[in-house]
């Protein structure tokens, strides 16, 4: 008992101390990020240039935003496999509405957000009240969303959208790309939601012990509905950036992105069984993945080999982090 108190004190006494970082769940993801960055810096001299860093962050933004919703879902002990497909459908419908019906662009974008959130709530309702396993529900939704996107567009990209939409994908404020700003804002909001609201505590409580949360009076089903709704919403937000970048609605976009989003969450130190993890960890995890992609590209490594290396690094990271 007294031993615990001492270690806690020693962190505060010595002026500025970084001791808390070592005890934080962020320690391992941060160390991983630093180690990989240094390695990449040695391998490629361009790596640490400002333009390359901005480039990496911009590339990270879409998976990074998907991973925010995924973090909420995984913290409750669930999973959402539908994020990539929902993103593609939301983008395709938004683009389709702009091109085919002549709706003002911003209304079409709002409609896209509605589609994403609606599908998320659909997942959530089935998981919470239908008592169906999340992995199956969202796998089915993944198929449904992908199929609708292809049906709606006939399988072809929908182009010809208003040119100002591109601001979301490739615009800049100063030197900072708009998608990076969007990502940072979304992470900040997620942090507030998770750390400073009753809802956030309930998310962690459900992942920690759903039965105890329910018996103490937490409305567990509504909380679950909400986390899947959030995941659908972040998928649709990612869709706006994607649509702006590609200047079209792409029904085939985002295949496999759900796996990258899950990898970012897990690399960020969130327990896959739920209850433990930090949204900041997910950001670090997403950037770590982005750096790997970027660095391996800069080194000119065969793309097929890149997948093998990334997979191995994820396994290694989870092996190292499995204790806490």
């Amino acid at each position: 008992m007294s031993h615990n108190a001492n270690t806690a004190d020693s962190g505060k006494k010595g002026g500025i101390s970084f001791g808390w970082i070592l005890h934080s769940p962020l320690a391992l993801p941060l160390i991983g990020l630093i180690v990989v960055s240094i390695l990449m810096g040695f391998a490629s001299e361009n790596f640490f240039s400002v333009s390359n860093i901005m480039n990496v962050l911009r590339q990270v933004s879409i998976v990074g935003i998907l991973a925010v919703g995924m973090t909420f879902v995984i913290l409750t002990g669930g999973i959402d496999l539908s994020v990539g497909a929902v993103m593609a459908l939301a983008g395709t419908i938004a683009a389709g509405l702009m091109v085919n019906t002549g709706l003002p662009g911003w209304i079409a974008l709002l409609a896209g957000l509605g589609v994403g959130m609606g599908l998320g709530l659909f997942n959530g309702a089935l998981v919470a009240w239908g008592r169906m396993p999340a992995i199956i529900v969202t796998l089915a939704t993944m198929g449904i969303a992908r199929g609708f996107g292809l049906l709606y567009s006939g399988g072809y990209p929908i182009s010809g959208i208003p040119s100002w939409i591109s601001w979301f994908g490739i615009g800049r404020v100063g030197i900072v790309p708009v998608p990076v700003i969007a990502m940072v804002v979304i992470y900040a909001l997620a942090w507030v939601l998770l750390q400073r609201t009753p809802f956030g505590r309930h998310v962690y409580a459900i992942g920690g012990n759903e039965l105890a949360a329910k018996l103490s009076g937490v409305k567990t089903q509504w909380v679950k509905l909400a986390v899947y709704g959030i995941s659908g919403l972040t998928s649709a937000l990612a869709a706006i950036i994607l649509t702006g970048r590609l200047m079209s609605g792409q029904p085939n976009a985002g295949v496999g992105f759900e796996l990258d989003a899950i990898a970012a969450v897990v690399l960020g130190g969130t327990a896959i069984a739920g209850g433990r993890g930090l949204i900041l960890g997910t950001l670090i995890g997403a950037i770590l993945l982005g750096i790997l992609n970027n660095g391996l590209n800069l080194m000119g490594i065969n793309p097929y080999m890149q997948d093998v290396i990334k997979g191995a690094i994820i396994l290694l990271a989870i092996y190292i982090g499995r204790e806490w």
């Binding site: 505590r201 920690g208 012990n209 105890a212 018996l215 103490s216 937490v218």
Partner: protein, 500 residues
Amino acid sequence: MLQLTGIKKKFGNIQVLHGVDLNVRAGEVHALLGENGAGKSTLMKILTGILQPTEGTIRIEGEERKFANYDEAIEAGIGIVFQEFSLIPHLTAVENMFLAREMKNKLGLLDRRTMRARSKEILARLEVDLPLDVPITKLSVAEQQFVEIAKALSLNARILVLDEPTATLTPSEVEHLFKVMRELRKQGVAIIFISHHLEEIFEICDRITVLRDGEFVGDCNVSDVDNDRLVEMMVGRRIENSFPEKPGPRPGAKVMLECEEVQLRKNGPVSQFELREGEILGFAGLVGSGRTETALAMLGAFPATRCKVLVDGEETRFREPAEALAHGIGLLPESRKEQGLITSFSILQNISLNNYGKYRKYHWFIDLKKEMAASEAAMAQVRVKAQGATARVDTLSGGNQQKVVIARWLNHQMKVLIFDEPTRGIDVGAKAEIYQLMREFTAKGYAIIMISSELPEVIGMSDRVCVFRQGGIVATVEGDSINSEEIMTHATTGRVQNVA
């Protein structure tokens, strides 16, 4: 045939068996009796090699044996049918009986024909006929039990332990089981039979061994004792815990909660009771008698077929505990780790879990300062001993964990608190504190339902007691009738009213 002598067992510092003897002869049905926690299960785990005794010897046919594990006990001819079956639900009876020792033919494939024939042979020995080719889940509970027994016999068991086999059976199934037991007795198998239902003991058993609080009380022939004598042996005279004084009934106390009917299962018994302001209503009964389920049904956490509850005279049906909380009814569950606490949370977070309505700023956000202040005040009120409010809750002792769960309910406008096994796994000192807290609550006008398997606790704390048996309330006792003989008699022989 089987002789256990001077068996002692310690878990850490707690002595659970203080030198127990058990002598079982071939071809007899031997009852092992005692209240919950008397040490029956521990003794059976020692017999079957799952636990090792701290002291004492096991002899089979005069020869001293030591079992390092369950497999060695099976090897020596001991079979056990646990209360919770160890069958694989989706496999057939035959597949279950030969699990992990499947017979193979010359090609190394399963020799299904031989296994099937062998199963049939064993079941015939029990004079039981049941479908062999359907998944176990399609069989009745009794049939599943016969499969378990057959499995033990297929391993050449000569000593068979049946741990509360009748708890989940219907009367006609019990009859069938007894027929099988008589058949086995004729074949010279020694059966150790654990049951809380005394009339069953008189019907089927030859001899009895009684345990109480880990002590050996005695053994005797069934024909030498009667019902009252057995209850007395089981309950005995014991050192009473220090319970706070009962304030006695309040004149004109209003009814806070009236349960007009609860039916847990279709065709099961229907119970009713009422709960008055400032009283502790005990729910007594054996494990599995429906006490917890009844409480959970009222909160909307157990799917009862019927549940009609009046709160302050108004009919309500809660769909989930959150709705019960809004009406001022809260639960302190039986298992703190599984149902009560978020073990990865701090004390603070566990207390505030259902309290966030009260400390917010800007409507949406948690007011961290108020949260800390309120939680620390609640901790002080129930006297949680810990490093601080931010300590992780899994570092606390059982008693302090229970206090954290209690603290969660302090800041609500509660009317009814349901304590399920409030002192399980808690040391004596902390127990007294929890009892004290419960009385402080009732003094404030709360009403408490206390579910407990510990008879002294029920007697020492309750103003009135509902006694449960087989899924329903069989009797409600108050005043001087709250004594161990009365409660045990109702709990073991009381009759429930079955309503279609």
